[in-house]
């Protein structure tokens, strides 16, 4: 087994980060049929390594922007779990105060500055945050997650050009899971070469096995260093797979738009399990440790769900609130 060059502590952190995402998603899936989370959920089961690998390279002061499939990004960046689950339960204590739902998560205290459900929509915004960071001499890096379908939106190319032109500290993270709802990449893009389309804008661009958290982490660590030092943006195309339906809990394999064989081949590459086994082999993990991590996460998650189920719904009378900011009270100021 080759050396990873990643410290053991970091590896455990990566494992926990992925596992937490997986467990939270599974819990959402389990409870979704109770019809209390009245918001469309786009589960990222199978794609945990990109969230964990990328965000482990970022500091709290770095920014993350995400999309409709943003649960993993939110959690990996350190977003508050209770506020997230409360948001799914449409509660006032939700991270977006019940105004946003699953597709619009935010935790501005850890630099997670929002999620757009318009495919590609948050890409230029992330570029703008990087521009702001340069203005403010903050050295904050801005990372943005988006799917393969975002590579069909012109705004990606406009953003790539601008970020490269201005050498802005942006990490573009494309999670290529080969599908947009029911449509395979092949029927939407002339060639499966998203990262090369970034490279032509004169930035380092990598294709990464997005199921291998160490690959994601190592590539991104270098990218962040590069961006933070003022050299400009970096692009990562992470090849992953969505295990569940496009939206909502459960499998959709019966619909026939993708084959069981295809799904199976990716299930074998489960980012959580393959990494767990690796850690077991290298003795960084053992049965006992696994058990204690499981227990810790399970109880944190249970607590969050209990909290979310109990806390208050928004007040109808406040339906107009938050449309405008009245005065200068902004934390990042």
């Amino acid at each position: 087994m080759p050396k990873t060059g990643i410290p053991g502590k970091k590896l455990i952190e990566l494992y926990k980060s992925m596992l937490k995402i997986r467990k939270v998603e599974l819990r959402i899936e389990e409870l979704y049929s109770q019809d209390e989370m009245k918001t469309p959920v786009h589960l990222c089961i199978g794609q945990e390594a990109t969230s964990a690998g990328v965000c482990a390279c970022l500091k709290k002061e770095d920014y993350v922007f995400t999309n409709h499939r943003g649960h993993g990004h939110y959690l990996a960046k350190g977003g508050d779990l209770k506020a997230f689950i409360s948001e799914l339960y449409c509660k006032e204590a939700g991270c977006s105060r019940g105004r946003g739902g699953s597709m619009h998560l935010i935790d501005e205290r850890v630099g997670l500055l929002g999620a757009s459900a318009i495919v590609g929509g948050s890409i230029p915004i992330a570029v703008g945050a990087a521009l702001g960071s340069v203005f403010q001499k903050k050295k904050s890096v801005s990372a943005v997650f988006f799917g393969d379908a975002a590579a069909e939106q012109g705004v990606l190319y406009e953003s790539l050009n601008y970020a490269a032109l201005k050498k802005l500290p942006v990490i573009f993270v494309c999670e290529n899971n080969f599908y947009s709802v029911f449509s395979n990449l092949k029927s939407r893009q002339v060639k499966d070469n998203i990262y090369l389309r970034a490279k032509v804008f004169s930035m380092p661009a990598h294709r990464v096995d997005g199921t291998n958290v160490m690959d994601v982490y190592s590539t991104c660590a270098k990218a962040v260093k590069y961006a933070r030092s003022g050299k400009g943006p970096v692009f990562m195309e992470c090849r992953v797979y969505r295990w569940r339906k496009h939206v909502g809990p459960g499998s959709d394999i019966e619909l026939g738009y993708r084959s069981e064989k295809e799904l199976d081949s990716w299930l074998k590459k489960c980012p959580v399990n393959t990494f767990k086994e690796r850690l077991l082999k290298t003795k960084l993990l053992n049965a006992k440790k696994i058990h204690s991590i499981d227990k810790e996460l399970d109880s944190e998650i249970s607590e969050a769900f209990e909290y979310a189920q109990k806390c208050a719904l928004p007040d109808k009378k406040e339906a107009l609130k938050y449309l405008f900011h009245e005065k200068d009270d902004y934390a990042l100021d």
Partner: protein
């Protein structure tokens, strides 16, 4: 010409009441599908494009299996490039095709405003009528399961303001089919909007091809005390409200405009002559919405008949909240209409 023998329906459509030999009860979604199916059948220039049109489920059934029947070349999925693909539809229309471009949310159409407003709407006029752009942009609008700010807008009022566009918003299965045919047959760009809550509504729909003229509203219920104009799904709510009001002795007239561009000002002013009172109930935001235009027409052309303030009902002027408790506050409904009518009639 494939459409020369098209039957044009000129009488008011039967509304949940008539039954004839060529009629059967089908859903709004099935009516849309039938219009597409028959148009594809009749006219080889017609094609249907849009994300998911060939997908399982076929966009709430409205395009279900059409690709199997008419071929994957004429009914096809597209990349997520809303702006370019609107241009693609325009270009195809310019050379003689009749594209129907389907969006499952109008929110995404905001990406193609440049192609719609700067190009499709202007290409005929800007070139002195030398060419034309016969195309239909269909979109499903409004509410659904905590869809929140970017997946549940109406946005028809934006198109209301743009010269060169048609704007069609049916509320019955009958109108859905007839007006979609008219939209495909029309020589100009048409925005055709379907409220998601209408898809399961059923109504009597002729089996054959028919078209409904643009710019002809329909009186859904006659009445003498107050005119209620309902846009899209609010036409349904208005009928319900009128039934409520009847119990209280308020005799409301309900009008469904069916197309907003062109707009049937005649039917509005006629009704006002009788009732002198006007309520406009819309599925979108109140401020700067189509309700304002209708109100302004009444205040300009029907002023002498007005006995009371003109009231508008619409969504709260905020982005759509996701939480269902706030959604209840956000969306207008039967109650809002009933209360408005009571207010006007001081009951």
């Amino acid at each position: 010409m494939p459409w020369t023998n098209l039957f044009v329906e000129r009488k008011e459509p039967p509304f949940d009441q008539d039954e004839g030999k060529d009629l059967r009860k089908i859903s709004f979604a099935e009516a849309i599908r039938e219009a597409l199916d028959q148009a594809l059948e009749r006219d080889k220039r017609v094609f249907v494009m849009g994300q998911g049109v060939d997908a399982p489920g076929g966009l709430w059934g409205t395009t279900l299996d059409l690709h199997k029947k008419h071929g994957a070349k004429r009914v096809f999925d597209v990349p997520l490039s809303e702006n370019a693909l609107t241009g693609v539809a325009i270009g195809a229309a310019l050379v003689g095709m009749r594209p129907v471009f389907v969006h499952n949310r109008p929110d995404f159409i905001l990406l193609s405003m440049d192609q719609i407003v700067n190009h499709a709407a202007k290409w005929s006029y800007m070139f002195g009528g030398k060419v034309k752009v016969p195309m239909v942009i269909r979109s499903v609008i409004c509410r659904g399961w905590g869809s929140a700010a970017q997946h549940s807008q109406a946005l028809h009022s934006l198109f209301m303001h743009i010269p060169g566009l048609r704007l069609v918003m049916p509320s019955t299965a009958y109108d859905a089919k007839g007006l979609l045919i008219s939209s495909i047959v029309d020589e100009n760009p048409v925005i055709f909007l379907e409220h998601r809550w209408l898809f399961k509504h059923t109504g009597y729909v002729p089996t054959g091809l028919y078209s409904i003229p643009f710019g002809k509203g329909a009186v859904r219920k006659e009445g003498n005390d107050v005119t209620i104009i309902g846009i899209s799904h609010m036409a349904v709510e208005a009928i319900r409200a009128a039934a409520e009001l009847q119990k209280e002795g308020i005799d409301a007239e309900v009008i469904d405009l069916r197309t907003l561009k062109p707009l049937d000002t005649g039917i509005i002013l006629e009704s006002l002559k009788k009732t002198g009172r006007l309520i406009i109930a819309d599925v979108g935001w109140k401020t700067g919405g189509v309700g304002a235009e209708i109100s302004a027409i009444a205040a300009e052309c029907g002023f002498a008949d007005l006995k009371a303030p003109i009231l508008r009902i619409g969504c709260l002027d905020t982005p759509t909240p996701s939480s269902y408790v706030l959604e209840e506050e956000f969306y207008p409904g039967v109650d809002d209409i009933v209360q408005a009518a009571r207010q006007l009639l001081k009951k």
